[in-house]
């Protein structure tokens, strides 16, 4: 089943100086096992498209279908449920909760989803092993490096076994070597069967994707 399908998406932001069209009639289909990178200059609408695909924003025109359901017809609670269980988000600025340890940050979406404690524990342990941070389980984000924080963020995004991982400039705050480690981590996530859509300026990261798309002034092209 198609994970997400965007049909002629347009997103216009009303501004004081006049409306700005961030995404213009973009259509896209993500199937299980896809690995898509969207490139393009700053402000071209990449992140907006990602937010539309991730059910955190609604299009001005067009529609998003997630696993066969029209997202615009869903209520806020149902969209939150999709985001929690079917989509993983990785942000440029990590956005880990600073008062929680790496372990707790990864556990949080699971406890929100009602995963039983024993299962949660096993999943968190295995995710920390997957991102090679078992030794830092009890560390707060402030005690981790940028690369480590992003690895925890990836583990958190995978916590509820999502069908789709969305990443917005995941190496944007990292140096080249650390970015390379994160890129390798995405390869492994993809190899485990999770579809990935990432937006990036990083050509090396984009080069690892199976499908590379470009965006310019809100228009998506191959």
């Amino acid at each position: 089943m198609t994970i997400v399908e965007a049909r002629r998406l347009t997103r216009v932001f009303p501004m004081q100086a006049g409306p700005v069209t961030a995404v213009r009639e973009a259509s896209l289909r993500i199937e299980p096992g896809d690995y898509v990178a969207i490139g393009g200059p700053s402000g071209c609408g990449k992140s907006t498209l990602l937010h539309l695909l991730g059910c955190v924003d609604t299009p001005t025109m067009g529609s998003v279908w997630f696993e066969g359901r029209d997202v615009s017809a869903l209520g806020d609670t149902e969209r939150a449920r999709i985001r929690l269980r079917r989509i993983g988000f990785v942000f440029q600025r990590f956005f880990l909760l600073p008062m929680l340890t790496a372990w707790e940050n990864i556990e949080l979406p699971q406890s929100e989803a009602g995963v039983p404690a024993a299962e949660r524990k096993a999943r968190t342990k295995s995710l920390l092993e997957f991102v090679e941070l078992s030794a830092r389980a009890d560390h707060l984000p402030s005690q981790l490096s940028g690369g480590e924080m992003q690895r925890v963020a990836v583990a958190r995004a995978l916590a509820n076994r999502p069908a789709l991982l969305l990443a917005d400039e995941p190496t944007g705050e990292l140096d080249e070597d650390t970015g390379e480690h994160i890129a390798a981590l995405f390869d492994r996530v993809h190899a485990e069967g999770t579809a990935i859509v990432l937006v990036t300026h990083n050509a090396a990261l984009a080069a690892r994707a199976r499908t590379r798309l470009a965006m310019r002034s809100g228009t998506l092209s191959t």
Binding site: S47, T48, H51, G54, V56, D57, D76, T77, A80, R81, I82, R83, L84, R85, I87, G88, F89, F91, Q92, R93, F95, L97, P98, M99, L100, W103, E104, E107, L108, P109, S111, E112, A113, A117, A118, R120, K121, T124, K125, E129, E132, L133, S134, A135, A137, D138, R156, A157, N160, D168, E169
Partner: protein, 429 residues
């Protein structure tokens, strides 16, 4: 990378909304400490206002209820404690004593007096004459006996030291006067009455001190001495009208005081007869309304300050964490959970501050009470700040309401946060 031993060996812990709130408070420690101190200070003032709102009334009720009498009879006009004479008091006393609804009755008269000790300057005091030799409700004995401990003298005023010892009227003096004059039980004290609005040349008279006592109605800057009605008449030169300033009575058990009040009122419709509850209610309506109103205004003001403090700190805190909040929402964390975290955070700040406010408020109340009780003519046993469980319940309720209202705006901010726009702004910033 080798896995280090982890503390996550047991079942996985759930990070609850309360847990998140607690971690947040610990994480932003300085802000939390400031908020808690602020709430504690404001809460202390609020608690004091609650103690003040009914403190005087409770204290007054405690004072008059501590007496063995629950009915007060005064002259035909004015307040129940004002000095308005009851005419034909002796006859009335007997009539009341004969009522089946009444268990006991006593008469009270008082007159300003001064000491006339051989050494030392005269000291002003209030001399009370009573038919109640045990002094129920008038004094609490500390040393010696009541007025019944010595046969009541009936002689006229003594001249110099020629007064016969066996004829000395008994006197119970206040602890403060005993301390001032260095007197104790079995000492003697010379007193002279000062007749109000009249020139007086009444000679001094020597009284035998039969007891030292606490007089709850004694002001901190005044002294009280009690004697028998015979002694009171004697110090007035043996001439005293059949009047009383107040008659005290107690209803016979199990008759309610109101029934006894009705029976006494029927005897003498020209008098004002009150049960203690009626006196308290009258004072509550007329005399203590100012304190209540002042307390309500100040309580409301301090509650608003608490609300502003906590609401401001929470709003600032949420604004600092908008990116985090938007990211959590993007991850599918429900609004309700994030809102619950904020409500818990408000509850923690206000709750901890509110708990600290109690000892701080009690301490402050004691200091303020000491200051206010220096007002002249205020009975020593009267307090402005009195603790009652109701104040604690109200304090708690106000704090809960403050925390809930203070969390409203931050919760609204979180609930209406546009996720995508916030994430974009966070990246741009």
């Amino acid at each position: 990378m080798a896995a280090a031993p982890s503390r996550h060996d047991g079942a996985g812990e759930t990070v609850t909304a309360l847990g998140l709130a607690w971690r947040t408070a610990r994480r932003y420690r300085a802000r939390a400490v400031l908020a808690i101190i602020g709430v504690a200070v404001i809460g202390a003032l609020n608690f004091d206002m609650l103690l003040l709102s009914r403190g005087l009334l409770l204290s007054f009720a405690g004072l008059i209820n501590s007496a063995g009498y629950n009915i007060r009879i005064v002259g035909s006009a004015g307040l129940s404690l004002a000095r308005l004479p009851v005419e034909d008091a002796g006859k009335l006393l007997e009539q009341i004593r004969g009522l089946p609804q009444v268990a006991s009755v006593a008469m009270l008269r008082s007159e300003p007096a001064t000491t006339a000790q051989p050494s030392g300057p005269p000291t002003g005091l209030e001399l009370i004459g009573t038919t109640d030799v045990d002094g129920d409700g008038i004094w609490n004995s500390i040393e010696g006996t009541g007025l019944a401990g010595l046969k009541t003298g009936t002689a006229g005023p003594a001249r110099g030291s020629s007064q016969d010892d066996s004829m000395m009227p008994p006197a119970v003096i206040s602890k403060s006067l005993a301390s001032r004059l260095g007197l104790k039980a079995d000492s003697t004290i010379r007193l002279r009455v000062r007749l109000a609005d009249r020139m007086s040349a009444l000679p001094a008279m020597t009284f035998r001190v039969v007891g030292v006592a606490d007089f709850p109605f004694e002001a901190h800057d005044a002294y009280m001495v009690a004697t028998t009605m015979d002694g009171f008449r004697a110090v007035h030169g043996g001439v005293l009208g059949d009047q009383a300033d107040m008659i005290l009575a107690s209803a016979a058990s199990p008759i309610p005081p109101e029934a006894a009040v009705a029976a006494i009122s029927a005897l003498r419709p020209d008098l004002r007869v009150f049960s203690n509850d009626q006196v308290i209610e009258t004072f509550n309506r007329n005399n203590f309304a100012y304190f209540r109103q002042m307390s309500i205004v100040l309580s409301s003001t301090t509650a608003v300050f608490s609300f502003l403090l906590v609401a401001t700190l929470l709003t600032v805190s949420v604004n600092q964490r908008l990116g985090e909040v938007a990211a959590l929402r993007a991850l599918g964390i429900r609004r309700r959970r994030i809102a619950a975290t904020l409500v818990w955070e408000a509850a923690l700040l206000v709750g901890l501050g509110g708990v600290l406010a109690l000892p701080a408020g009690q301490l402050l109340a004691e200091v303020l009470d000491r200051i206010l009780r220096r007002m002249p003519n205020l009975p020593e046993g009267l307090h402005f700040f009195v603790f009652e469980p109701r104040a604690l319940v109200l304090h708690g309720s106000l704090l809960v309401a403050t925390a809930a209202v203070a969390a409203l705006y931050p919760v609204w901010l979180v609930a209406t946060l546009p996720i995508a726009q916030t994430l974009r702004q966070e990246v741009v910033s």
